[in-house]
């Protein structure tokens, strides 16, 4: 028997007002230490799913078990990296991270907090910027602070909502590499939303593909057959890369409009698992 997954989502459905649900019949599992990416077009409900996992929003139907227990609101176990960094602009970088650290360990002395914050800022390469306000930082540096703040509380799971989509290509690449390294080092469990196919193939162990909303479903789950550790400068040379990339792009361009969901053998509880190897 496989070990109990860290996250177990069953029959999740969300409806705003009346009318068609944004998504329905969403089932998935995330194992401890796994990096999962969720891909889908804008408006299919990705952010809503992430907010439900974070405990910030409630589903209209379905259950989410986290470490075997039903979710009950937000928790320090699950850290969120928000789409728009969400730093508190009146606090400097150090104080932003310290705010999270004090929440996690309220009994720590100022000295302990300062040391831990300094260490975390060092990890994301922001030691020099500790006393700067977020407004004085570039977009990439702000997102680094967001990452430091999330990782500083040692969450069991990291939730990221398109964390790099607002960054320029160069900065995005550097941050992707760093997140890949940090998460691999600590075997961090991650659920990340993206609509960048290359990003998903670099970071994710499995990729969930969602159909377009309303009434979106998880159409299939693509296993990333490129073994880790994956690095940005060579991942695209792997023989399986073109097939995987084409498969994901085909889905986004063509099949996301309800592919397979209507098919007789489509079972929302067990979406087809796609395992592509190198093209023959």
């Amino acid at each position: 028997m496989p070990p109990e997954p860290l996250v177990r989502v069953d029959g999740l459905m969300k409806r705003f007002g009346t009318g068609a649900p944004v998504f329905a019949d969403v089932y998935f599992r995330i194992a401890e230490g796994e990096f999962v990416c969720l891909i889908g077009h804008s408006g299919c409900g990705k952010t809503t799913i992430l907010n439900v996992l974070a405990g910030l929003d409630e589903a209209s139907d379905g259950t989410v078990l986290f470490a075997g227990r039903e979710l009950d609101g937000p928790s320090l176990d699950r850290a969120v990296i928000f789409q728009g960094h969400a730093l508190l602009p009146w606090l400097d970088v150090e104080a932003n991270v310290a705010f999270a650290v004090r929440s996690r360990w309220p009994r720590w002395s100022n000295e302990q907090v300062r040391a831990h914050v300094a260490e975390q800022l060092g990890v994301v390469g922001l030691g020099q910027a500790a006393k700067k306000k977020p407004s004085a930082l570039s977009g990439g540096m702000r997102q680094r602070v967001g990452i430091a703040r999330a990782l500083a509380i040692r969450p069991r799971m990291l939730l990221m909502d398109e964390p790099f989509s607002a960054l320029d290509a160069l900065t995005r690449g550097t941050l992707q590499d760093e997140v890949a390294r940090l998460c691999a080092e600590t075997r961090q469990t991650v659920f990340m939303i993206t609509h960048d196919v290359d990003e998903a193939l670099l970071l994710a162990d499995r990729i969930f593909l969602m159909t377009n909303g309303p009434d979106a479903r998880i159409a299939e789950i693509v296993v990333n057959t490129i073994p880790g550790p994956r690095r940005r400068h060579d991942v695209h040379h792997h023989p399986a890369y073109p097939a995987l990339r084409n498969h994901l792009l085909d889905f986004l361009i063509e099949r996301s409009r309800g592919f397979g969901v209507g098919a007789a053998d489509y079972d929302p509880k067990n979406p087809p698992e796609i395992r592509l190897e190198a093209a023959a």
Binding site: G73, P74, F82, A86, P89, W90, S103, R104, S135, I153
Partner: protein, 280 residues
Amino acid sequence: MKPSLGLRAGAVSLLIFVVFIAAWYLATGAGPGAATVDPAYAKLVGAAAAGGGKSAMPGPDVVAATLAKHLADPFFDRGPNDKGIGIQLLFSIGRVFLGFGLAMLVAIPLGFVIGLSPLMQRALDPFIQVLKPISPLAWMPLALYTIKDSAASSIFVIFVCSLWPMLINTAFGVASVRREWLNVARTLECRPLRMAFRVVLPAAAPTIVTGMRISIGIAWLVIVAAEMLVGGTGIGYFVWNEWNNLSIANVVVAIVMIGLIGMALDQGLAFAQRKVSWVE
């Protein structure tokens, strides 16, 4: 090289001031070639005009002399109708601070409640809409009748007029705190009080202080009128008393002092505004 904008603006300000004083000097007939005045008429129009001017309006020289006299001994107290201008100003400032402080104690917590609760916002809105446009002086008879103390009544009037801008701005500032920042605090399992003081208050502080700045401006306008009405002490009473004495020079000195103190109060809060402001 051109002198700086500040320097040039200062020069123009000085020029305007000099032209104004000169025009005033000439218009009040104290200038060269002024007609001598019938001493009987001078006696009739009062001491101010007896200096030899052709109008009861004192010239800048007379006002400057009066001002110097007041500043030389601002705090004398020779009975109810003869107190130094400094004492009168302190009475007024004290009432403004008391009424304003009480209004703060009510408006900021209540504004928090309104800003955080759409229900309270809707429930209280009709009351605020009706009460806000009432001239604060209209409350005076009611205050005098119920409180039976003229000083306390003017403090009450200051309280009423300071309340609305602070209340409305606090509610608005609290209601417009970015959802993201609240979500950050929620995922960190912030307790409500910590959330209020560490997230909502700093986020809304610039708007709240703007409300305080509007309030203190209105309070300073209203205190003069209130003290004219109830009499006794204060700069408003001083102005009315000197008008009854036909001592226009004293009235002008009081007007100048009212302007300067009003500016100081406003600048104090402008300073606070800069202290709490943040850029995203």
